[in-house]
């Protein structure tokens, strides 16, 4: 499914002060594409993702979806940085949540949940509660829950940012493996350049606030991606390109905050 984001604005006020989060952000996401959204912190990446998810209204502009593959099921499902698992539900009932809300019969949704629990490597933890699991395992549950909901598009908001470096690397590989099976359209917000290059088909770079899409870099690395690619000259070239583009925005953001301090 394709996503078309055109001229999206977002303004809100924080303690009476108007904040201009997004300013005419435009972006085309292709069908079955893994798009990584990279930008300096506070640039409105998460806000844009929530607008695409329909969880936040845009102040202006429009988000549209084209080319539905299946008749039923939701258009988008989020995977959150802080997992957002329901603490009172066991793993299998967390994973089955979306199907339960849509009235899928119990037997069917439990079988479906089991399938995705197995796929993310959590066999044996079906009856556990989220707090009994490590961060990496909790994010696996969140991924299984999103996939079980069978969305056309997966929206991922820095899903690995809260994990330690080693777990993050393991999860990146897992994510690539799982994405390869389902080939869903993915919009993946991250602040890690390496992650954006390793995972993405294209990298959309956002400007400092007010955020807009500054540049889209096609990732020319072949698929399937492997960790070995992290050391190739091709990878470094792409990462450098992204870094230089981002660096300008960090300078803008840093300048702006210094200005704010002197006021």
């Amino acid at each position: 499914m394709r996503i078309s984001v055109s001229n999206v604005d977002k303004r809100f006020s924080v303690r009476g002060r108007e904040v201009n989060a997004l300013n005419k952000a435009s972006l085309e996401v292709r069908d079955a594409e893994f798009l990584t959204l990279l930008g300096p912190s506070g640039c409105g990446k998460s806000t844009l993702l929530q607008i695409i998810a329909g969880l936040e209204p845009a102040t202006g502009g429009k988000v549209s979806f084209e080319g539905r593959r299946t008749a039923s099921g939701p258009v988008t499902t989020m995977v959150w940085q802080r997992y957002a698992l329901f603490p009172w539900r066991t793993i299998k009932h967390n994973v089955a949540f979306g199907c339960e809300m849509r009235g899928m019969p119990r037997g069917e949704r439990m079988a479906r949940a089991q399938h995705f629990i197995e796929n993310v490597g959590l066999i044996g933890f079906e009856e556990a509660f989220p707090h009994e699991l490590s961060g990496g395992m909790q994010q696996r549950v969140a991924l299984a829950r999103a996939l079980c909901n069978d969305p056309e598009i997966l929206l991922m908001d820095e899903p690995l940012a809260a994990l330690d470096a080693q777990t993050r690397t393991v999860m990146q590989v897992e994510l690539l493996r799982i994405w390869d099976q389902y080939k869903k359209t993915v919009v993946y917000v991250t602040h890690s350049i390496d992650e954006a290059v390793l995972l993405g088909d294209r990298i959309a770079i956002m400007s400092a606030r007010p955020g807009r899409i500054k540049e889209v870099i096609p990732v020319t690395l072949p698929r399937p991606r492997t960790l070995d690619m992290l050391t190739t000259p091709e990878f470094h070239k792409l990462a450098d390109h992204a870094w230089n583009s981002i660096k300008e925005e960090f300078d803008v953001a840093y300048g702006a905050s210094k200005e704010g301090q002197s006021q």
Binding site: A53, L55, P74, T76, T77, M78, W80, R82, A84, F86, P87, W88, R89, F97, G98, M101, R102, F129, P130, H131, R145, N149
Partner: protein
């Protein structure tokens, strides 16, 4: 099945740590009275109190009194705490109700609920009803306030996540807001159980014709010092049992909130 010596030792030491200090105090009590350091007129020897406790239990006097008191406390508690949960959920979930009732709740809350007893006596006369009403109104507010806090304390991201996964407003309420506020509701239930015990004994002392509170004031009036202490012992043990029961219910009802 074998119990490892390590586990046995751990159990023995936990018993020692929990019971040890109590035994020490009781021993000190006994010795200081027997030696004449404290006059037995005010503080009978602990052994006499225990003998009296045993007699009160076997004669059926104490069990009968506790039966009456427990009944009053339980009925009042269920009415008070139960209506507080329902009322709390209603005004916590529906904003217009909240806007209307919250100032009233805030105004009534600081009033010492025991003062309402005078009204209950006027309205209900004597017997169980004023006692039950006092317990009910005292149990009401801790549960109500904790329920409201519980509803407010739900992580907003869980609500967003539920909506994102396809939950409608009703489902968000029943599947997220309600279970998420249960730990705070139980905090209220625990506080209320303590308040209910205090109030039932106090009101029985004041207007009761039966029950442990009445037994206590009767023992005071006729200076049955052994009986007085025996009743206090019994109430203390009863209190521990009540709190343990609430904890146990929470343990069973909220398996996900254990040992966090």
């Amino acid at each position: 099945m074998t119990i490892s010596s390590g586990k046995l030792r751990a159990f023995a030491s936990s018993v020692l740590y929990n019971v040890g200090p109590i035994v020490a105090v009781l021993l000190l009590w006994e010795l200081s009275v027997r030696s004449g350091l404290i006059r037995a007129f005010f503080l009978p020897p602990v052994s006499d109190v225990l003998v009296q406790l045993w007699e009160s239990i076997t004669s059926g006097q104490l069990p009968a009194a506790f039966l009456v008191t427990t009944k009053r406390m339980l009925i009042g508690y269920i009415i008070g705490a139960g209506s507080a949960i329902v009322f709390g959920l209603l005004i916590g979930i529906f904003r217009p109700l909240r806007n209307f009732f919250y100032p009233i709740v805030a105004a009534v809350y600081p009033l010492p609920k025991i003062a309402m007893l005078s009204i209950f006596i006027v309205v209900f006369g004597v017997g169980d009803p004023p006692i039950i009403a006092s317990v009910a109104i005292s149990s009401f507010f801790p549960v109500l306030l904790n329920t409201l806090t519980g509803l407010r304390s739900i992580d907003p991201i869980l609500i967003k996540a539920a909506e994102d996964l396809g939950a409608n407003r009703f489902q968000v309420t029943t599947k997220v807001v309600l279970p998420g506020s249960l730990p705070m509701i139980f905090t209220g239930l625990r506080q209320s159980s303590a308040v209910a015990l205090i109030v039932v004994v106090a009101v029985e002392m004041y207007i009761g014709q039966s029950g442990v509170g009445y037994l206590l004031s009767w023992a005071t009036e006729f200076f049955k010092i052994n009986l007085l202490y025996a009743n206090l012992f019994a109430i203390g043990i009863f209190g521990i049992l009540v709190f343990r029961l609430v904890d146990f219910i929470e343990y069973i009802a909220l398996p996900w909130a254990r040992e966090r």
